[in-house]
């Protein structure tokens, strides 16, 4: 399980780590408003010491997208 990633998601979106799946997004997570979605990216940037481009930020529609962009930045999210 991508522990660090899920911890940040859990903290920002106030959901239990155990329910997190790649498909979850604004429709399925109550606290995933457009602003809070951006808060999540911001806190991931701080947590993983990366920067999302504006294109990546606009592209994120669910947890799977976040994983993809992190992996593209060379982050081993499962490690």
């Amino acid at each position: 399980m991508p522990e660090k990633l899920y911890q940040i998601i859990s903290k920002v979106m106030k959901i239990d780590i155990s329910v997190i799946t790649d498909e979850l997004g604004p429709e399925t997570i109550e606290n995933w408003t457009s602003f809070n979605g951006y808060v999540l990216l911001n806190e991931l940037e701080i947590g993983f010491e990366v920067k999302f481009t504006i294109n990546e930020a606009m592209d994120v529609k669910n947890i799977g997208d976040i994983k993809r962009h992190l992996r593209n930045k060379g982050i081993n999210i499962d490690g």
Binding site: K14, N36, Y38, V39, L40, I46, I54, A57
Partner: protein
């Protein structure tokens, strides 16, 4: 990264606030850009200080409509404190990017126009509500299209914004309701590149980055504290490793670290910042485990002590525990323990005090003295919306009272007590410089006033120029400083043999120190030198002038019918506890 919690921490924690506190505030938030999260930050930070915070957040960039529309949600909410958060891009529009597309005179006109618009809005708001308003100054971006010759540009882009900010400040410098927040200080403290992040700006018109929004919120809390008056008023300080480096009991007077060399300079600077707070009304006190003699010798004699004995309203230097001492200090200073800040380098002492007095702000200073100054500078709890003259003199008054109490307790008789005050009186004829103060005393003094005759400035001026009158004033100094002009007398030269005391008064501030005896002796001696035989005086009793009722008999005046008379003697002794200077 700032030393702050993340934005999500505040957003989530705000949902968990259930407790209702006695202290409450209603805040309105108006802004020209996205400030999502600020509401939650203020709510959490308020709850941390036992304040319930209700917030109305106006829709994005609707501040004008909210202020202009009489029936707006803002007015329905009726805030007590409103923040109007505006920014340079929003105020200047296209000119923000293209300042040099217009002439310098047009730039000036734009600044005047935009400033007028904001002023109209603010005036409208002030007219419609009782809320205090805090409006932010505009940020001055470091970039200018003119680059390094920006400073050679007449009324350039940067100067425009500075000018706008200055106008804004001047508009409200004397206002009781409108406060101007120095956004530029916030940016220069934290850094433009940290505060403003183009990614966040393009994504959601965010102009204060998510990382630094909590820092901004912390700054705004100063107004909440100032508004509610939950301000800290007193700093209680440890000595060893707090005001100086080392332990005086072990390292000795010469061994402690205090002086121009590091690390002594850090302690000196720490003392300077404490002194600057003292000068604006914060009370200082000492709570230290030490041999009294060792510690007081440093305070009194160390050449690099910035804080002197006179800056401390109370001291507990002994081997009792810090809590016992704190209880005594609270009583002696007569202050609520919730208005105290405690600074001690020892974490055990800090925990102990915190456990007994949770309401005291116990500052966690590290073991690095170079960080002390910034820790003090970052305390927001000294914020006030107003500083009065009384505030500025508070520290002095406390010390004065402390010494006078100690003297009175320890002195066997009044004469000895008075002689220890180093009283010095200066008597001079009233001139145009002292006239306003003299007139104020004549119009206001009730208690120590022989005749309570009220004269306007013009009346007094006539008497000054009339050779048949002596209009004198008295300045009083003691070992604690100058009390200023605090006494007035007017003598009418009735004829070659007789003077009449028309007016004799003293401010209640200097009553009870035998000053009046000194003034009267001066008058008697002056009369004697002028070959006068008799001085006459009236005493008109009022409801308030009881303190002066025995003054004339005490000065050897004899009652003769309705008036009192003193016959000049050959020997007139001046009180020995007073020094007299005649100008």
């Amino acid at each position: 990264m700032p030393e702050e919690n993340s934005l999500s921490h505040y957003i989530n924690k705000s949902k968990e606030i259930t407790k209702k506190f006695d202290k409450k505030i209603r805040i309105g938030l108006l802004s020209s850009y996205t400030i999502n999260g600020l509401k939650e930050i203020l709510q959490v930070k308020s709850a941390d200080r036992n304040i319930s915070c209700m917030i109305y957040e106006a829709p994005y960039n609707q501040y004008s409509q909210e202020i202009l529309n009489q029936d707006s949600e803002l007015y329905k909410f009726s805030p007590e404190l409103t923040f109007l958060i505006i920014d340079t891009r929003n105020i200047f529009g296209d000119i923000f990017r293209f300042p040099y597309s217009v002439s310098s005179s047009d730039r000036k006109k734009i600044v005047e126009k935009t400033n007028r618009e904001i002023k109209n809005l603010v005036d409208k708001f002030v007219e419609k509500t009782n809320s205090k308003l805090v409006i932010t100054k505009l940020n001055i971006p470091s970039f200018s299209p003119n680059g390094i010759i920006e400073s050679k540009t007449e009324y350039g882009f940067h100067e425009m914004i500075k000018d706008f900010n200055n106008l804004l400040m001047k508009n409200y410098i004397n206002s009781e309701n409108v406060f101007v927040y120095d956004f530029q200080s916030f940016v220069s403290k934290n850094g433009e590149d940290n505060i403003f992040n183009y990614g966040q700006f393009f994504f959601g018109d965010i102009k204060i980055s998510m990382e630094y929004l909590p820092v901004f919120g912390q700054d705004l809390m100063k107004y909440v504290i100032g508004y509610l008056g939950t301000t800290k008023k007193c700093i209680v300080l440890d000595l060893d490793n707090t005001l100086w480096g080392g332990i005086v009991g072990e390292d000795g007077f010469n061994g402690i670290k205090l002086g121009p060399e590091p690390p002594g300079n850090a302690f000196m600077e720490f003392q300077r910042v404490l002194l600057s707070l003292h000068q604006r009304g914060i009370i200082l006190a000492i709570n230290s485990k030490n041999n009294y003699e060792d510690a007081i010798k440093v305070i009194k004699e160390h050449p690099y002590m910035i804080l002197k004995e006179e800056h401390f309203a109370a001291m507990r230097i002994n081997w009792k525990d810090k809590v016992t001492n704190m209880k005594e200090l609270v009583q002696e200073i007569n202050i609520g323990s919730d208005s105290i800040v405690f600074i001690d380098d020892d974490p055990v002492n800090r925990e102990f005090v915190k456990s007994i007095f949770p309401e005291i702000l116990v500052v966690d200073i590290s073991n690095d003295p170079s960080s002390y100054v910034s820790i003090i500078e970052n305390i927001i709890d000294f914020s006030v919306l107003k500083i009065t003259e009384e505030d500025k003199n508070r520290g002095k008054m406390y010390f004065k009272q402390k010494i006078i109490n100690e003297l009175e307790e320890s002195t066997p008789d009044l004469q000895t007590f008075l002689s220890q005050l180093d009283l010095k009186i200066t008597i001079k004829e009233v001139d145009k410089f002292s006239l306003p103060r003299v007139s104020q005393l004549i119009l206001k003094t009730n208690q120590f006033n022989l005749t309570t005759k009220r004269y306007q400035e013009l009346d007094i001026e006539k008497m000054i120029h009339d050779p048949n009158f002596i209009v004198g004033c008295v300045q009083v100094e003691d070992k604690f400083g100058d009390n200023g002009i605090t006494g007035v007398f007017i003598i009418k030269k009735e004829n070659d043999e007789e003077w009449i005391i028309d007016t004799f008064l003293m401010s209640c501030r200097i009553m009870g120190r035998g000053i009046e005896q000194g003034i009267m002796t001066y008058i008697k001696n002056k009369a004697k030198n002028d070959k006068i035989k008799k001085i006459k005086a009236d005493f008109f009793q009022t409801q308030k002038n009881k303190p002066i009722e025995n003054f004339l008999p005490n000065c050897e005046f004899k009652e003769e019918g309705e008036t009192w008379t003193y016959s000049i003697k050959s020997e007139i002794e001046f009180p020995d506890y007073l020094t007299l200077k005649v100008e």
